[in-house]
């Protein structure tokens, strides 16, 4: 691949890849490293990909695998059976919760979602990949993706509500306290 084609590839995908990395890694520095590492892997191995229509999926999958590979030992995923169940009849979410909140807080709420649900949930909101490709990437059936999405959304709603409550608590200014 020529330098121009590589530059075009970076321009097309580095922002959504960074957003996905940010949700996984939970901090900007690690997200930058993951995004860079993904394009490094492309620069060294990407030529072996013959189907040009699979580039986007290849990049997202590579980033996810690099994240899993780079996670420190001892920080294993919480077993799915130990996580709270999804809602049988989910309530409609409060749109205002997300609309009125700063993007940074929404991303932080997303980062509070358990890791097992965070990847499918972020890919759902990035709207970049069809379900079959998300399922292939996570190596689970589509039904499992939807199940994890359901549970992830429940956690996201709870995290957003918690952040909204925290925002409403206005600390009392120390300078106005009466002293005896």
């Amino acid at each position: 691949m020529g330098q121009d084609a590589f530059t075009q590839l970076v321009d097309a995908y580095y922002a959504p890849l960074y957003r996905f990395a940010l949700s996984l890694a939970r901090n900007s520095a690690d997200a930058c490293d993951l995004t860079q590492q993904t394009f490094y892997v492309w620069a060294t191995k990407g030529a072996s990909l013959r189907d040009g229509s699979k580039v986007k999926t290849w990049l997202f999958t590579t980033l996810y695998r690099e994240f899993l590979r780079g996670r420190r030992r001892g920080t294993q995923l919480t077993a799915l059976e130990d996580l709270p169940p999804g809602e049988d009849d989910p309530p409609a979410a409060e749109t205002d919760l997300a609309l009125n909140m700063d993007a940074q807080l929404v991303v932080e709420a997303l980062q509070d979602v358990d890791e097992a649900f965070r990847a499918p949930l972020t890919l759902f909101y990035l709207e970049d990949l069809p379900y079959q490709e998300i399922a292939d990437m996570l190596e689970v059936p589509i039904g499992t993706v939807m199940s994890r999405l359901s549970r992830g959304k429940a956690q996201l709603r709870a995290a957003l509500a918690k952040k909204e409550t925290a925002q409403k608590i206005i600390p009392f200014p120390l300078s106005q306290r009466k002293t005896s």
């Binding site: 060294t44 909101y125 709207e127």
Partner: protein, 239 residues
């Protein structure tokens, strides 16, 4: 499908509607059309999803990340030992000496075309080539990328048209040569020289060396060398 099942499916429907073609989503959407309370729930759910998606997509990568990726990837591309300039230079020299020594008596009339091909193979492996990679543009790109184009049939371009088509100028074996790259299933590199600068009968001559395959030939106006890393069969599909 009951309302709970429909909600389970519909909460996975993306706000941009890209999932509506899936039969399960289509069935659940039909259910929502018949059930006003489910439709109202879906509208609120989709509004929430659109709001979260918009917030997530408004997050901008840090300034400098793009440039760091481009610089890092460029520096990090591994150069196998056999593609290092010193090794390449030595290999090209040995190949040239051996080639000249063994074929001189038989192939003397086409010697210069062979030198062009050998020089081209060394050039394709060079750092200069990997830095430049001049991809074809405009009419030349259209011609080279067209699956039915066979280069052996001739390329109706003069030097000026080749230059306008994105070709890079370089010297090989002391002669002016134009270089252009294109993709047709794989990556190809075409080198064009003035016919008068290279002797030989112009008959196609295929060779494989290392991971590279090449064919050299000439018509009335130009001498050509076409190179690919995808093997002789790929070469024959284009040539």
């Amino acid at each position: 499908m009951n309302t709970i099942e429909a909600k389970f499916i519909l909460q996975a429907r993306r706000p941009d509607g890209q999932d509506d073609a899936y039969p399960r989503f289509a069935e659940a959407l039909e259910h929502a059309r018949r059930d006003p309370s489910l439709a109202a729930w879906l509208a609120r759910e989709q509004a929430f999803d659109a709001a979260v998606a918009a917030k997530l997509c408004s997050v901008q990568p840090p300034a400098g990340l793009r440039d760091a990726i481009l610089a890092g990837a460029k520096l990090s591309r591994p150069v196998p030992f056999w593609r290092r300039p010193q090794v390449l230079g030595l290999a090209a020299s040995v190949a040239l000496i051996v080639g000249v020594a063994t074929t001189w008596p038989v192939l003397r009339p086409s010697m210069d075309t062979e030198r062009l091909a050998l020089g081209v193979l060394a050039e394709v492996d060079s750092d200069a080539h990997h830095t430049a990679m001049p991809f074809a543009q405009g009419a030349l790109r259209a011609l080279l990328n067209e699956p039915t184009t066979r280069l052996a049939a001739g390329i109706p371009f003069d030097t000026e048209q080749f230059t306008k088509g994105g070709c890079r100028s370089l010297k090989i074996a002391g002669r002016d040569v134009l270089e252009v790259c294109f993709e047709r299933g794989g990556e190809f590199h075409l080198y064009i020289a003035k016919r008068k600068d290279f002797r030989g009968d112009g008959e196609p001559f295929f060779r494989e060396r290392g991971t590279l395959a090449s064919v050299a030939w000439a018509d009335a106006q130009h001498a050509y060398v076409l190179v690919t890393g995808d093997g002789t069969s790929a070469l024959r599909n284009v040539f």
